[in-house]
Chain length 346, copies 2
Amino acid sequence: MKKGRVTITDIAKELNVAPSTVSRALNDHPALKKETKQAVRALAEKLGYQPNFMALSLLRQKSNTIGVIVPEITSHFFSAIITGIQDIISNSEYNIMICLSNESYEEEAIIIKKLLKIQVDAVLVSPASETKNFDHFRTLQKNNIPVVIFDRDCPGLEADKILVDDYAGAFQAVEYLIKSGCEKIAHLGGPLNLSTTKHRLQGYLDALENAKIPVRQEYISHVKGFSHNDGLKPTTELLKSSHLPDAIFAMNDSIAISAMHIARKMGMRIPEDISIVGFDDEPHSSYFRPSLSTVWQPVYSIGMLSARIALGRLNSDNADNLAFRQEVFKPELVVRGSSRPFIVPA
Amino acid sequence: MKKGRVTITDIAKELNVAPSTVSRALNDHPALKKETKQAVRALAEKLGYQPNFMALSLLRQKSNTIGVIVPEITSHFFSAIITGIQDIISNSEYNIMICLSNESYEEEAIIIKKLLKIQVDAVLVSPASETKNFDHFRTLQKNNIPVVIFDRDCPGLEADKILVDDYAGAFQAVEYLIKSGCEKIAHLGGPLNLSTTKHRLQGYLDALENAKIPVRQEYISHVKGFSHNDGLKPTTELLKSSHLPDAIFAMNDSIAISAMHIARKMGMRIPEDISIVGFDDEPHSSYFRPSLSTVWQPVYSIGMLSARIALGRLNSDNADNLAFRQEVFKPELVVRGSSRPFIVPA
DNA sequence: TTGTACGCGTTATCAT
DNA sequence: ATGATAACGCGTACAA
């Protein structure tokens, strides 16, 4: 009796053949007698033989692992993207390793070192909000590891990119607010170095300009964070000012919801006194009262496409020569109860 | 010039020493001349040497990977647990591989085969709601892979378990509803083979009995799923009946929120006409109007403790002999606006 | 103090 | 049709 797992050598000994024969039998090598093949397979089955993944990895210099780096997973946004990635990759030969940067550049850099160490075959990444320098991603590329950027762009970095047209989404949202009769529209934005929030701000600004509404700096604030609690203070300050806005366009649903919360606490009616629009269309947003108007993003598709592109790079031999892909998904405004009704003319 | 990564052999050649010497220098072997050690380390540094993870894995027969299986990650509950797990494990030498069962027994079994194949060193798992047989977990154990069960219990399976006292949480919630004056309390429950929802149902039943309130079967329904949409139909049916309940205890926040939605749609006032209490305390629940009364669970701690216990098994040599741990966290009722106020006497 | 040889499990190449 | 051997990169028992 032998301890440990059963190896091809074990099978070989038992059958009085060479290990290489066993290997060939298991891999369905054409030049092999039917009987030997069958005998080997039968015994392998009986002994519960499992190929040793690490030995193969060492031999092929390939970990069969794809790294995925996201800022966090507690929001529906990233968890849904990851679900999309999983669903594609779990049907491939690859495994996926999910890593959380906690929006920290430093942690992101550490993660990349770790992924380099375990020799991942590809990396999908949505950079931390702190990240301004992309050299750590370039390091991956220098090691022949394909990098796919999703959701948050890295200007200047050459890589496959799956993005969302945040500018268009924001523009559409603010244009709608204007058409519904709002004139004093505030924006609760995010970090300026983040492509997504930067573009949302730009969409807001351009929609105002397009309607010849002057931009007022006191209507724009930059929230330090992405969750409910982070929106409370900025909203309070905004609504305490002498010039009350009649609408708020928030950079995401969580902030929009905390804005709704504060507005109501201060005695304002939604949407009669103030319209509120978010971004992301998180599943619970439609269950608020009033239900939250927001901008929907194809989260699941973003994940699936990112994964598919990564697999494409890994499977095609001439992958290196292929031009980088840049796909931009269109978001969609979803009008609900937190903003004044307005039928866009067809 | 050589392609590929630099290995200890490369360093050895360049320095005219044996590979083993390089290995020893890098591992700070005591019996080695200071100068050789320094020379090797200097060159290793210069060449950017990185130990080959796969070679080490093969040598030690250890993947340094811990598998984590959860039903899904889009709810805050599991994503927060995973964040807790990550935070502990990322400070160890281990990597973590997150796998989604999608509440399916079949997928769970496939995942376990995959984890077995890559020879994970330990597995943390919260079983799918479909899972009734735990032999696939036992298979892991037979392969000397420690299994840590969290949140959802596996009756009859001997393993480390990190659970929550769902019974107490439910009992507390329903007892509170009774004391606040509710008499016709309905329950929107989950699958009966799931320990969590089964215990919540039992807590509900016992709290009623404890108050000598007869149980009415038409007040109990079993929701097929865990998300908002799944709660709509059961709630509608419940509230269409001739015997209207004056309270609903839902098995989780999402279902509670869809119950609030339907109740309001049918013209009921919350909490005047009907009290609603959920379970989980998802972050957005406090922002609903009225804010949702619910039962809080220490999600992050569940994750951290599960990870710590797994690491403990992996690091101690006599781990096999150690008795299995079973930790049960206490949940806590959080009374908010969706249920009638009631001050519990001190 | 350092070099040699072997093994971890597998496959590919060369030989028979 | 199948066996022997080398190689992937590293650590270590043994030899020197």
